[in-house]
């Protein structure tokens, strides 16, 4: 399972970077979406794809029995998803407003502030 995930994540990263390098601001946002999903999947995969029980400790014991799924990356990835979603919502709104104000979706037309 892990090699398959690794390839999928790699493709996601590559596609995301490719999309971000285009000049269109819509493609920029799509790139950002793919990029954050790639990072989330990567965190999810790093703990190993164990087919285990939930990490519950039976009564009277000090550690769980048998193979368990690592709970920490799941907690981490949940937080990361929430953050990524919030930031993406912001950037979608930003791109919309920028399009309304600049009246162009070409990044090359947004160079007024560059020096």
């Amino acid at each position: 399972m892990e090699p398959l995930m690794a390839v999928a994540i790699g493709i996601l990263y590559a596609t995301a970077i490719f999309m971000m390098l285009r000049r269109s601001i819509v493609k920029l946002v799509i790139g950002l979406i793919l990029l954050s999903n790639a990072a989330n999947l990567l965190i999810f995969t790093t703990a190993g794809m164990t087919r285990g029980a939930p990490p519950l400790i039976p009564e009277g014991m000090s550690r769980p029995l048998g193979a368990i799924a690592d709970p920490l990356p799941q907690a981490v990835v949940l937080t990361a998803i929430v953050i990524a979603f919030g930031v993406l919502a912001f950037s979608v709104v930003l791109v919309r407003r920028a399009y309304e104000i600049v009246k162009a979706e070409d990044m090359d037309k947004m160079k007024d502030t560059d020096t």
Partner: protein, 525 residues
């Protein structure tokens, strides 16, 4: 229990929440902006004093022992950074009263300000690498919203670059955290530091170190990843620019200091040359960019970049003295750079433009403003006895001791170039006579609640400027006690064992023996 560790985060969060409650009441929001930031300054002083006495203060969230729960930890570096954050926060609170347009206040300017301060404080205090990411995002989301308040064309263009680059940096950071967790199976920075030393694949550790360096390098605007900064920092309202200039890039620098002295201290030798030349090129490109500009805030934005180089130089030389100098450069720069941006706001209010060519005659008109600018600008260029001189002096001495003559020479030359562009600003804004084509106060000054002009409240803008200029002088006059604090920081950062022991407590030894047991069983985390 050490509540003072959590208070610098909780106080701005609380004042932000309260000012959200008073969404419709502008006077109340303004009142909370000042009192809340005053409270933040008080708790920061408390934290500073008790950190100074105890060395390290830790607080385990939810009472979970260290490697499992989230740890808040304050050492001298965190305490100093928090104290500076609070000072800048309070100055901004006061300055914003006079400068913020009514429309911005209605769109939640003050709650965002509090939230951003909470994010910055959280990033300085956390001892958990994923938590650092979370606080970075808290800070960034607030800064995104502050950056586009008002929604002018330049702001939108600047914001797209700022948002994209920062999100990219965050994703690189997050990826590195994921890979790090896959290697060592822990997120606590002290615990990571223990386990990375014994990691099997040292090559992978170096890859991770580079990923962290790139991620924080983007956020800190180091060469060659700085170009988003001069494109966006001069677009928002002046108070926001000043806050960004003072604090945000320094959070990236702080993260570099923390990560490379604590977690990757083994792979530092490998990366030292990259960082050293990165620092030198940051200084040179920043100052050359500034020399080419004729817009007040763009010059200042490029100077942020060049000053970041000095801080990185402190980290790259990697001796206790150099680290002390680097941190002193951060402290000095937070005070001085914020002040220069605030002064640019006052000159804009007085003359209605940021273009140097159209300004002039302010020395005759406002001599005390000229003095405040003179102090800040010459402090930035490194004149004795101002704060910048000591930062540079310590760095240069550390550079010579470390034998990095070329980079030290670059640092000295960049000081001269800084002086050149500051003299340019001085000549254009304060010295020459006001040119014909300047129309003073073309746009009417923002009206207050009762329709009166806010012009009489100019003293609210002067107050933080004078205090910060005085701060720069005081750092210079009391250089010895300040330097003693910085030397403590240098010692603490170069000896991460104490930090690890302070965070993990008795688990530090347990962690090591547990790790050895795991290695013997042949089942790594």
């Amino acid at each position: 229990m050490n509540p003072e560790v959590a208070l610098p985060i909780l106080v701005p969060l609380f004042s932000g929440a309260v000012s959200l409650l008073f969404w419709r009441s502008r006077p109340m929001q303004r009142f909370i902006a000042v009192t809340g930031n005053l409270a933040l300054l008080i708790v920061s002083l408390w934290l500073f004093v008790s950190t100074h006495q105890l060395g390290y203060i830790t607080l385990q969230m939810g009472d979970w022992p260290a490697p499992f729960g989230i740890t808040l930890v304050a050492d001298m570096l965190s305490a100093v950074m928090i104290l500076l954050t609070a000072i800048i926060g309070l100055s901004m609170g006061i300055y914003s009263l006079a400068t913020t347009a009514q429309g911005h206040e209605k769109f939640g300017y003050y709650p965002l300000l509090h939230l951003m301060l909470a994010g910055v404080a959280g990033a300085f205090l956390t001892g958990d690498i994923f938590n650092l990411y979370v606080w970075f995002e808290v800070m960034l989301v607030a800064s995104f919203a502050l950056l586009i308040l008002g929604g002018e064309r330049a702001q939108m263009e600047g914001a797209i670059k700022y948002v994209t680059m920062n999100l990219l940096a965050s994703v690189i950071f997050l990826t590195a955290i994921g890979l790090l967790y896959g290697m060592v199976g822990t997120l606590n920075m002290a615990d990571i530091a223990l386990r990375l030393d014994m990691a099997e694949h040292q090559g992978m550790v170096e890859v991770l170190a580079v990923m962290f360096m790139v991620a924080f390098g983007i956020k800190a605007a180091a060469f060659p990843l700085f170009f988003w900064l001069p494109a966006s920092y001069h677009t928002p309202p002046v108070a926001v620019s000043a806050l960004f200039a003072g604090l945000l890039t320094k959070v990236g620098v702080y993260a570099l200091f923390r990560v490379f002295t604590l977690m990757f201290d083994q792979s530092m030798g490998y990366l030292q040359d990259i960082m050293l030349w990165g620092a030198a090129l940051t200084m040179v490109t920043g100052v050359l960019g500034a020399a080419a500009q004729y817009e007040f805030r763009r010059i200042l934005s490029f100077h942020i970049v060049s000053q970041i180089g000095y801080m990185l130089l402190g980290l790259a030389l990697y001796t206790p003295l150099a680290i002390a100098g680097g941190v002193l450069a951060i402290a000095h720069n937070i005070v001085v750079k914020t002040n220069l941006f605030l002064i640019s706001g006052i000159t804009h209010r007085l003359q209605g433009t940021h273009q140097l060519k159209k300004m002039g005659g302010l020395y005759r008109e406002r001599p005390w403003l000229a003095v405040a600018f003179f102090i800040s600008a010459f402090s930035l260029a490194g004149f004795p006895p101002l704060s910048g001189f000591f930062a540079k002096f310590v760095l240069v001495r550390a550079g010579i001791e470390a034998g990095a003559y070329a980079v030290t020479a670059v640092a000295l030359a960049v000081g001269l170039m800084t002086l050149y562009s500051m003299v340019k600003v001085w000549n254009e804004v304060f010295w020459k006579t006001l040119p014909e084509d300047n129309c003073i106060l073309q746009e009417p000054a923002p009206a207050g609640d009762d329709g009166r002009l806010v012009k009489p409240s100019l003293w609210l803008m002067y107050l933080p400027v004078v205090v910060l200029a005085l701060g720069s002088v005081l750092i210079g006059i009391f250089a010895e006690p300040v330097m003693r604090v910085m030397e403590t920081i240098g010692e603490q950062l170069m000896n991460p064992t104490d930090y690890i022991r302070a965070v993990l407590g008795e688990n530090a030894d347990g962690g090591i023996s547990l790790l050895e047991a795991e290695v013997q069983e042949g089942s790594g985390p």
